[in-house]
Symmetry: C2
Subunit: 253 residues, 2 copies
């Protein structure tokens, strides 16, 4: 998959572990890095990392690739509760602490690192407890984003829901890459966009075409999105870009 110069790729950070362990004390950092390194796994696109209601580790850190947290109804309808991008964490456990509340699925080929409950407990004992400090802002940003999405799924039009999702993913990717490039690769089928926004794939298709007919976006290949008018898109999504950048994405300095 050759990359054109104008399309964002989600490639591994050169020193991926450094991002999470930044800010850790020097004497904790090597131990942490070793732990992450030991538990690094590769998962192929489409396969499950964890199944809903099955035992799971409490903490995963995504190094590379996109991950969906899904829940589904008996009738087969799927809702994607969150999408995890590189350098974000997955906290899949439900209140019991040992089984997963979500179906954790790899949307692309994924590289991730996990920490077991025992390892996490042991890290908690470190003084001071850096894990919490590292996870807190990521977890808070995820909560806030899920709230934004729930608001729009509950009360927004189809156009607003799709525009919001594109805006959210665009700003989160933009935050990672640092450049200001309006194109990105969206490794989601229209069905998956529908699962994420609470729409049918048919209506996602109609909505995307309407947005592109308005000149706001372009769908060159069916997976590469060009955002021509980010302000208009954010307007439809009812998003304030600056506020969103400040509060919903976790800075990767």
């Amino acid at each position: 998959m050759p990359s054109t110069s104008t399309v964002k790729q989600t490639e591994p950070c050169p020193a991926a572990f450094d991002v999470l362990t930044r800010g850790f004390d020097a004497h904790v950092r090597p131990r942490m890095t070793a732990l992450l390194d030991k538990n690094t796994r590769h998962i192929r696109a489409g396969s499950d990392i964890v199944a809903e209601d099955e035992p799971t580790k409490p903490f995963y850190w995504v190094l590379e690739g996109w991950v969906a947290l899904n829940k589904s109804l008996q009738d087969g309808h799927v809702q994607t509760v969150d999408i995890i991008l590189p350098s974000d964490v997955i906290l899949p456990t439900s209140g019991g602490g040992s089984v997963s509340a979500f179906d954790v699925q790899a949307l692309t080929d994924v590289t991730l690192s996990s920490i077991s409950a025992a390892e996490l407990d042991s890290l908690e004992m470190a003084d001071p407890p850096h894990m919490w400090s590292a996870i807190r802002p990521l977890s808070a940003a995820a909560r806030a984003r899920i709230g934004e999405r729930m608001l729009r799924i509950g009360h927004g039009s189809a156009e607003m829901r799709v525009a919001y999702i594109l805006t959210e993913l665009y700003l989160r990717l933009d935050n990672q890459c640092g450049d200001n490039c309006p194109s990105f690769h969206l490794p989601l089928t229209q069905q998956q966009i529908g699962d994420f926004s609470g729409l049918s794939s048919v209506h996602v298709c109609r909505t995307l075409r309407r947005l592109s007919r308005q000149g706001i976006i372009e769908t060159s290949d069916h997976l590469d999105i060009v955002i021509n008018d980010a302000d208009a898109l954010a307007g439809i999504a009812n998003v304030d870009i600056d506020t969103f950048k400040r509060e919903m994405v976790t800075p990767v300095p």
Copy 2:
């Protein structure tokens, strides 16, 4: 407001602080209790505890009363992202860590205790860090419940959404009180139930009447709910009661 013997009340636990601080080391517990005691506040029903996008403390613990976490669109539509019951925590901050992602509103008269960022940081330094251990399961249960709600708002019928909300609140209250009484006081207007379930108040009304015509629930006073057939309600909500109790509510032993 005299309480009948068959209607659950949400009254203060006699030794409320003990619940959260249970499991803390003896030498941390008095300090923690003093901190909570010092920062206890009373809020009247209907008033805001924290406004969206405004500075906030990072941690609140609800001792008494019901609290809604709301988000709203420019057009005035409100979505209640979560409802916090006594002995649950509020983590209102967004990714930036200092401002609130939600409008935190008292649904009833509320008693709560807060911890500032500085106090939280200082508690984090305690060895071992009990705060995280205390918050983790509460936070995980909240995430799981929000996922369940998002799934139903995205893909469920009105009947399923309302049945789910009644089931969730019923099981959470039941968990608190320990008894197995099918009646509870629901301090929500139909408008607020609509905000919570992503429905209009008109359709909430129709749905509640349909459920009561089927004999599944009864709405004696317009705020006291009797659940005649919890299994049928859970069936409509697509909820497995045992699984829900195990994973979505945090045991109050």
